[in-house]
Symmetry: C2
Subunit: 270 residues, 2 copies
C-alpha cells in the first residue's frame, strides 16, 4: 500500500510556480473593488494583467488578504501572485515592473517579497487593520471628495468611544454582518476600535484577525448613531446581543474605508 | 473751495455693494489656478459664476488673498465678493448657496462673513500660510496622486532644516522669485519654514506676510537639493546672497502646494 500524502495547506503553490507576496496601495474611487467582475475595473484584474505582462503573457493567478468592496481604498493591501517558476524575478523587478504596467491606474505596488509555496496572503494573515475616515463639518469635502464619509452635524467622539469599548473582544457579530456574508461563523474577535478626532476628521482604527463582510462599515455606521445622539452608548450592547442585522445601524459608505495593513508572522516584507 | 476727500483704501467697495469675505477649499488638479483665463476653469470664474447665480444673474466681482497657480490646492483660501447691496444675504446663505452652485466642481465655500467696505481680502491680509507636501518613497503615489510631489530617493530632513534656518527673516528673495513676478520689491520677511517628516510624507510649513511669485515652490525645490545631498546646507546662503534666480534650485511642482490659511486682524470669520 502507498503511504497517503500529508495534506497540503490550502492553496499551496504548484511546483511549476514561484509565489510572490505584494503590498499594494490603491484609490478605490473608480474601481469595482478587489474581485474580478464583468462590469468594471477591479484591482485583481489590473494586478493580474500587469503580472501577465511580466510573465510574457502567461496567466498569473492571485489571492488577496482582503476582498475590498467597490470604492474602498487601500494603503497596505497584501496579495500573493503565482508566477511561472522559470521567470527570473527579484524584489525590485516585481515591485517596479508591476507598478510600471499599472501606471495608467491609481494602483501601485509598494513592496514585493518571495515567499514559500505554503505561504498564503489570505490564510497566513494574523491581523487585518482598517481605517475609516469621516469628515465632520458643515461643508462637503473639496480636496477629500471620494476619500471620506461626510457627516454635517457634529458628532460626540467621547460617546462613540464609550460605545466602541462594548464591541471589543470575542462576540457573535451577526448584527454587523452583511446578508451576503459567506463566512461560516459570525464569531469574531475585535482587538481594536480606537476613535480619534484630527481637526475636522474623525478617524476610526479597527483591527481583528478577520472581519465579516461589511463589518467595519456597519460598526462605523452604528457608532455614528451614538455620535449624533440618536442612540445612547449602551444601546450598542443591546444591538450586539440581538445578533440580528436589523438591530444595527446603517452601513457607512465605502469611500471612507481604507485597508491600511495586513500582518503576518513573520512579516514577509522585512 | 471744497474740502478734498480723504483717499479711500485701495479697492473700497462701492456704495451700492455689500462686501462678503469667503473661505474656500479646492482641489486644484483640474483647474488653471485662481485667476480667470481663456483656456480653462479657474477658481475665480467658478466662484463669481456661483455668486452671480445668488445675485439673480448680476455680476459679482471678487478679489483674492492669493492668486494660486494651476494645480495648486487650497484648504483656507480667502477672497471677498461684492454683492449688490439690495440682496438679502446672511452667513449661511452665502456659504451654502455658493457651495450649492459649485457642487459639480471640487471647490467648496467653508465659511462666509459680512465685512466692512474697506476690508480687502488681499490688502488686509497680515499673513499667508502655505504647506508643501512631498511623498518620499520609491513607489509613485496611488491615493495621493496629484496631491504631493513624489521624490524617490531618501531626503535628509535634518539637513534641509539647517538650510531652512538660513532663509528665515527679512531678505532680498530674488533667487527664489519667478521671472514673471510682478511685485515691486524682492524684499520679503519669511516668518516660518518648518520641515517635518510624517511617515512617508515630508511636510513644509511656510509663513510670511506675503510671498513673491513661485517663492514657496522655489524654496522647496532648492531645499530638496540639500535633502538629497547635492548641496551642503550652507550653499543656501550663497544662493540667497546671489540675488539671482539662476543661483537657486528648480521650482517644485505645483501639485504639492496648498494655501492653508490667510490671517487677518481681527479675523472676519470669528
Amino acid at each position: 500500500m502507498s503511504t497517503p500524502l500529508s495534506p497540503l495547506p490550502r492553496d499551496h503553490a504548484p511546483a511549476d510556480r514561484q509565489r510572490w507576496a505584494v503590498k499594494i496601495e490603491y484609490d478605490g474611487t473608480g474601481l469595482v473593488g478587489w474581485q474580478k467582475q464583468e462590469n468594471g475595473l477591479s484591482v485583481q484584474a489590473l494586478l493580474e494583467s500587469a503580472a501577465a505582462r511580466l510573465a510574457g503573457g502567461r496567466p498569473v493567478p492571485s489571492i488577496t488578504a482582503g476582498r475590498t468592496d467597490a470604492r474602498v481604498h487601500a494603503t497596505g493591501q497584501v496579495a500573493h501572485l503565482d508566477f511561472p517558476a522559470d521567470l527570473p524575478l527579484n524584489t525590485r523587478a516585481v515591485r517596479d515592473g508591476l507598478s510600471y504596467h499599472l501606471k495608467s491606474h491609481p494602483v501601485v505596488v509598494l513592496d514585493a517579497a518571495s515567499v514559500d509555496p505554503s505561504w498564503n496572503a489570505r490564510f497566513s494573515a494574523i491581523r487585518r487593520r482598517y481605517r475609516y475616515r469621516l469628515l465632520n463639518r458643515p461643508s462637503r469635502p473639496g480636496i477629500e471628495a471620494n476619500r471620506v464619509w461626510h457627516v454635517r452635524f457634529p458628532l460626540d467622539v467621547q460617546a462613540m468611544r464609550v460605545a466602541a469599548e462594548l464591541l471589543l473582544g470575542h462576540h457573535d457579530f451577526s448584527t454587523f454582518r452583511a446578508s451576503a456574508c459567506q463566512a461560516r461563523s459570525p464569531m469574531r474577535t475585535l482587538d481594536r476600535l480606537d476613535i480619534k478626532r484630527d481637526g475636522e476628521l474623525i478617524v476610526f482604527d479597527v483591527e481583528a484577525r478577520s472581519f465579516l463582510h461589511h463589518q467595519v462599515r456597519n460598526l462605523v455606521g452604528t457608532l455614528q448613531l451614538v455620535g449624533c445622539g440618536r442612540w445612547q452608548p449602551e444601546q450598542i450592547r443591546v444591538a450586539l446581543e440581538a445578533k440580528d442585522r436589523r438591530a444595527g445601524g446603517p452601513t457607512a459608505p465605502s469611500e471612507g474605508l481604507y485597508l491600511v495593513g495586513v500582518d503576518y508572522e513573520p512579516d514577509p516584507f522585512r
